[in-house]
Symmetry: C2
Subunit: 363 residues, 2 copies
């Protein structure tokens, strides 16, 4: 099947390179296969979840020769986590399109940059201040106020690298606990809801948002999502508009996930991720298209799919030993079980998820 | 994740061996990955659709050493087409369970046997007669009547190896055209509808039927399915009951697809296939579980999933050059496009399919 015109979509049979071999890469590769595309995983670690369902290269992020071979073997590249070094993406860009591009990746790698970017776009965030020393921390507290949270600026995920700061916190102790000289102090928001929006943006700049999802975190790890979130229409529209604005300003081709706090009708941008997002897993069983299909469509240049909710859907993450209940979950009528093929169960490790369709939506 | 008891289901992370590397194997492997299982494809041909999404062995059906290595590398074996030699399955059975077993495979490989088996089970079929010579053919016509169809008894698919016999047919010419000395003469039925039922049967003998599907063939190839079929409840129940009876009598663990003619409220068994079936592809987007998920559940010993229709769904096969319309199909809102990763388009070759959800079902 040929593409016909040079600038058109990549034809089925083309190969999508995916940087990162975890569960997001696995589910993207499965969605690509359904549309007739091949995938090739690049990851420093062997036998991850994604390499079970696609070709793979095991090599370091800075292995130039391996990157060049990978670039020659694929037709477009995307990434499934945002801590891929920007230099890796820049080297690939000499040979092959990388979608989303390095700007979205770079901004998403720094909490300070992502919040600054959101404000640059006219969106609200909690008060924040970059912190590079104990002296900075004292200064930051006068700007940000309390209660607040001291976080690593980079490489934090699932609540790792976070210290709460209150009236009785020993600042030196908190700074030592951070164990990084690149931090951010953020005001803790007494939010009513934590929600997220995933927007897809195509090569042509068209955007399609998935319904807003409400999220519950436990110990910093997403535990449960409910979609569509029970929000006022105006608030939901504003949340979707924030995601569209950020994706457009970052010139994303692919997905942008935006985590937001809702506080008295105000929307505050918390984090962004230019990739599939755990809070979008419900779309596999509850929406007209999954976030993974949408990512594939965006990066190969196909039109985006409608992304409406078909069912009110609850997603429960299976974390660590939760997945030991696979037998019971597989026996639960109507529960859609997704497991990631991880051989070893570890506390806090995302092993899979379950989607429960609660009722038809909008019928 | 351990199975706990020896006789329980294979735990996620186990490997399902699949004999045959075509699109049915590909879609089974994708469904297995979603549930956390690995797959290993065995096929004499390299780089088929399934080997793009799973580990694979390329070896002949009678390569004993390769079969032994394959058996040692997997935890259970299933097959995606019914022309796998029974001897291949019997060799594997020394080392690993094969589901469905050799009886279902053997019966499904012969039109004479499958129709005889259906009658043995108390089900109706069109009149038929085994034909091994031109003399047999003349004899068969006196039993079967006209119009009738002379078919190869084995290895026929998608309308290949079929000759229509009417009042003005030259029998010698028809016999020569068959080009086989193992034939079957079947009465041509003036059926009102052609339908199929796919039933899953678990290790414990439990059965779950998918809704009855109505099928339209063009030139002997399935062109379109509509599910659930618009049938009287009694006729639909009888069709499902026929499938359950056949699966149970054949001791199937896995799927059994049964093609049926409906003629004035009577149900006539036409063909059976102990594997996923083209007429069940709509279940990927229209049912509570897909036929591929159901096959995986059956062969690893998990409980079967509910198989209700969620949407009235139309499935259109993309045959040969039909798939060149991938760009338009991908742009059609709500059309779910499935392509099989076949590099070469050939006339009559199944390249993919499209599922269209027409409306919520039962709401």
């Amino acid at each position: 099947m040929s593409a016909g015109r040079h600038s058109g979509p990549l034809p089925p049979g083309s190969t999508i390179g995916i940087l990162g071999g975890g569960q997001l890469g696995r589910m993207t590769a499965v969605a690509a296969a359904e549309l007739g595309y091949r995938c090739h995983i690049y990851d420093p670690t062997a036998d991850g979840p994604a390499s079970q369902v696609a070709a793979s290269t095991v090599a370091a992020w800075d292995d130039g020769e391996a990157l060049d071979r990978f670039a020659n073997a694929v037709d477009v590249v995307t990434y499934e986590f945002e801590n891929v070094p920007v230099e890796t993406v820049e080297r690939l860009l000499d040979r092959v399109p990388v979608r989303p591009g390095p700007m979205a990746l770079s901004v998403a790698q720094s909490r300070v940059e992502e919040k600054s970017f959101a404000r640059h776009c006219g969106l609200d965030t909690a008060a924040f201040w970059g912190v590079r020393s104990l002296d900075d921390l004292a200064q930051a507290l006068t700007v940000v106020g309390m209660p607040s949270i001291l976080k690593t600026n980079r490489f934090g995920y699932d609540g790792k690298g976070q210290v709460t700061i209150g009236m009785d916190t020993d600042l030196r102790h908190a700074w030592d606990e951070l164990a990084s000289d690149d931090g951010i102090l953020e005001r803790r928001i007494p939010f009513e809801r934590e929600v997220s929006v995933i927007v897809a943006r195509g090569v042509d700049g068209a955007t399609v948002c998935f319904p807003v999802t409400e999220n519950e975190h436990v110990d910093g790890i997403l535990r449960r999502s409910l979609a569509p979130a029970p929000l006022d229409a105006e608030v939901a529209d504003a949340a979707r508009q924030a995601a569209v604005t950020l994706a457009t300003e970052l010139d994303v081709v692919g997905l942008l996930a935006v985590e937001l706090f809702i506080e008295q009708g105000r929307i505050l941008v918390n984090e962004i991720a230019p990739r599939p997002h755990n809070s979008g897993h419900w779309t596999q069983d509850g929406a007209a298209a999954s976030q993974f299909e949408q990512l594939v469509r965006a990066v190969v240049g196909l039109p985006l799919a409608p992304a409406d909710a078909l069912f009110e859907t609850e997603m429960i993450n299976l974390i660590g030993a939760d997945a030991d209940a696979w037998r019971e979950l597989a026996a639960e009528p109507g529960a859609k079980l997704h497991l990631y093929g991880k051989a070893e169960t570890r506390p806090g490790r995302k092993m899979g998820h379950v989607n429960r369709r609660r009722k038809p939506f909008g019928v």
